[in-house]
């Protein structure tokens, strides 16, 4: 398959557009000098990813991503940013000065992974473009074959919930305690 074959397919145009957007957003997430912007760029990257999922006919996961990540996690992040009073304006100190080594490492990660996948899959095509996986299948799978991991994950979530509360809860000082009792 040549590049011209590839570009001839319209769906790949869509892919290219979304992919570039995702890449750009991702890049900004790790380089932005503004904390809030970084979080918002992550929203962008996730939204783009959801789009890619749709391309690959994984509708359900795409909506989960939008709902859970963009709807909940990012909000959580923004709360976190507010509470920790991270400087919301431009801040040079958000990143370390020594970027060479991390850049080199991440480049190496990219190279190795890319090499590995190209080496392994070459020009293999996706199989199921166009047929959306039904939510029913996923649901049956989740509550059938994967019911135990499913339960475990729900347990993990519960644990995270309790843990998060326990950790984040501020123990009242004796004075505060007294005040509370008196009220």
């Amino acid at each position: 398959m040549t590049f011209s074959d590839w570009i001839a397919e319209p769906v790949n145009w869509v892919f290219a557009a979304i992919g570039l957007a995702v890449l750009f957003s991702g890049f900004r997430v790790v380089t932005s000098k503004n904390v809030v912007h970084a979080a918002l760029y992550l929203v962008g990257a996730l939204a783009g990813t959801a789009g890619l999922f749709l391309l690959m006919s994984a509708e359900f996961v795409a909506w989960v991503l939008v709902l859970v990540y963009i709807g909940a996690v990012i909000v959580l992040f923004l709360f976190g940013i507010m509470i920790t009073r991270a400087p919301t304006g431009l801040d040079e100190s958000l990143s370390s000065d020594q970027t060479a080594m991390p850049a080199l490492l991440s480049a190496a990660v990219f190279v190795v992974m890319t090499w590995a996948s190209i080496d392994a899959f070459g020009t293999e095509l996706l199989a199921t473009v166009g047929e959306a996986t039904s939510t029913q299948v996923i649901g049956e799978s989740l509550l059938g074959r994967f019911v135990i991991p499913f339960e475990v994950v729900s347990f993990v979530l519960l644990a995270a919930l309790i843990g998060g509360i326990t950790i984040a809860r501020r123990d009242l000082t004796p004075v505060e305690e007294e005040e509370r009792m008196s009220v």
């Binding site: 859970v68 990143s95 990660v109 996706l126 950790i167």
Partner: protein
Amino acid sequence: MLLNQFLVLGAALFAFGVYGLLVRRNVVLILLSVELMLNAVNINLIAFESYLVSAQAVGQVFAIFVITVAAAEVGIGLAIVLMIFRNRKSANVDDLSLMRW
């Protein structure tokens, strides 16, 4: 669509995540980078699913699991950040040298 176009994209996102993980100083931002990496993994999972196609949509189920665990991780992570911040008045990892021998 090629399988590899998604894999390479995922690899790139992952690499960005790694970069952010290593270079960021603010703990919240480090968590953001981790999310990015997890997201890259999800792309791979979905891509493989639509490449191999399993009857029970295993890849997608796994992506859901990843998302769920990531949510849990963010919850706990932010709680920890909160506590550290409360104790140290800082969310800067350079100030956290507890793990030094």
